[in-house]
């Protein structure tokens, strides 16, 4: 695993760039632990100061330092994205692997459900959820709702990999070596599934952060929790752009775009890396 990372960093420009971007973003979110101001607190800094040495990203109309506020926001957004991604990965893995390995009727039923969820437009449904729960809408509830909508595309992908692994000859070899099903799944097949799961995780984090930003900006989440979305929400509420407080909008938007591109690059380079052809050539297989 460590060698793979080293190889990727050295020989894959996309991965290296993505890793740098994500490292910056993670460093930014870790910086929140050293913030001189507590999260979300207002009127702790002068109003509307443009970027300067004292306030590198300026301050906003709520009396907050944009830089330190942003560290909390990106931390919460990342955490949210990761939570949704992990939850939906769980569903995708269970559905994809079960469907692929068991096959037959189970496969047909699961894929039918899968194809059903694929066509659901998440936004109206999430808005409906917000509409019903309103003030009861919590961070966790939103994460669960989004996770239950964000799995089907990837479940199908995992299923197709599982399906092809099942018919590979080495699977028969493992079975007749007396290995248990659990052993075959974990030791033989997981190395093939894992990189795909990794790539889709990156994409899913992207998707969920994006959707969270969207809902927050409209005000359909808990707006007191600082996230990238709620930051933009408050900026809009104070018509920051009209007032010329551009740094209140520009830095969150810039940071979140950096996150998106970084995650995307990681996912793409991983996809290239797991392409069996390039992997085998790397391992020195026959030409």
């Amino acid at each position: 695993m460590f060698r793979i990372l080293k190889d990727l960093l050295r020989y894959n420009r996309e991965f290296a760039l993505g890793a740098i971007l994500i490292l910056l973003v993670v460093a930014m979110s870790l910086a929140s632990f050293f913030s001189p101001y507590p999260s979300g607190l207002q009127y702790v800094a002068p109003f509307d100061v443009p970027p300067s040495w004292g306030h590198p990203f300026g301050t906003n109309s709520r009396g907050q330092d944009v830089f330190w506020e942003l560290t909390f926001a990106i931390r919460n957004s990342l955490l949210f994205g990761i939570t949704v991604a992990l939850l939906s990965r769980l569903i995708a893995l269970v559905v994809g692997l079960t469907s692929g390995y068991i096959g037959g009727v189970v496969d047909r039923i699961l894929m039918s459900i899968n194809d059903t969820f694929v066509v659901f437009p998440p936004f109206p449904i999430l808005v409906l959820v917000y509409f019903i729960f309103k003030d009861h809408m919590s961070w966790a509830l939103l994460a669960v709702a989004m996770a239950s909508l964000g799995w089907p595309y990837d479940a199908r992908l995992i299923r197709s990999v599982a399906l092809s692994l099942r018919t590979r000859e080495f699977t028969t070899q493992s079975i007749f070596s007396g290995m248990s099903t659990r052993q075959i799944l974990i030791e033989e097949h997981l190395p093939y599934v894992l990189p795909i799961v990794f790539a889709t995780t990156m994409n899913n984090i992207n998707w969920s952060i994006g959707l969270e930003v969207t809902l927050s900006v409209i005000g359909f989440t808990n707006i007191e929790t600082p996230t990238i979305g709620t930051m933009i929400y408050w900026a809009n509420q104070h018509t920051a752009l009209v007032a010329g407080v551009w740094w209140w909008i520009a830095f969150p938007v810039g940071l979140v775009i950096m996150t998106f591109i970084g995650l995307y690059l990681l996912s793409v380079s991983m996809n290239e890396y797991i392409d069996p052809r390039s992997r085998l050539s790397r391992m020195g297989g026959s030409a």
């Binding site: 190889d7 050295r10 020989y11 894959n12 390039s278 050539s281 790397r282 020195g284 026959s286 030409a287």
Partner: protein, 368 residues
Amino acid sequence: MHPSRRDNGSAGEPRPAPEGPPALSVDNLRAYYLMHYFGVEREVRAVDDISLVVRRNEIYGLAGESSCGKTTFLKTIAAAVRPPLTVVAGSVRYGFLDRDIYALSPAELSAIRWKHLSYITQGSMNVLNPVRRVRQSFIDFAYRHMRLHRRAFFAAVEQHLRRLHLAANVLDAYPHELSGGMKQRVTIALATICRPEFIIADEPTTALDVVVQKDVLAMIREAQQQIGSSMLFVTHDMTVHANIADRLGIMYAGRLVEEAPTAEIFTKPMHPYTAHLVASLPRIGEQSRKKSLSGAPPNLAAPPSGCRFHPRCPLTMDVCREASPALTTLAPGHRVACYAASPLVKPSATAERAAVPTPRAEPVGLVQ
């Protein structure tokens, strides 16, 4: 019109000596795969110094195991070289061309394809575009060369199909509606419609069932005779060669190790590798024990020194480990690269060197 040939086999009857230049002459050809993946650089010498001549009207068989470089050799002589494959040295000259094929511009190359040089390839199942009818494939490949109006063109195509005993209604079929053998027959018809001087056939029957294989081979033979073209026929299957090739070249690890008229290869093989290939062929009605060869074909990224066969050879001598033997003519039309075959075989300079002229018009093999 090319003269039609009278016999199928190569042994026995002498044939009229070929006139003019050979259909194909390859001189000291080297083609390597130069690769680097994630920092690992590799040079695979898939074709390493091969010289051979294909005469007019003959089927030249090329035999060898997987990854011995025979498919790479085909790509090189077809001028279908694409990175990481690189032609490092040598020349490829066709009888219908006044220049090396690598001296042609892309437009000139495109102009000779199919009209003078066509192919029957390995992936017989998939060479036809799945979303186009066979008729459209004929238009795509051949229409521009035939200089006929649509109607006359299709009349010519249908006539050609009839000559090869195919019904004209295949033209309206999609590839998936045809059986494997049928697809390969259509491909043969497609490859011969322009009456090309040279046809390259790459494992054309490997994917076919036994019963169909024979019929398809017969069809290839017949088409080649009808239009009088020359053919380079590659397959790993020695029994197929026995039944279709006039002359046979044996490749091992990127090199040509023996070349002779087909019958002579089977009756008097001189290279120990060839001898093994021939001796190990099982036959119905024979159960005597066959010997097997130890070891495995070398990795072309790190081939053994000297003769590449020496680690597996029962006749290895000291010289075999040091220098690679030159392909030497030991009998009329019979070239061998093995020190044990004759003291006449000398080491070849392995480094780059001036092109050694290969005999272009050897006398036709006279085999008892």
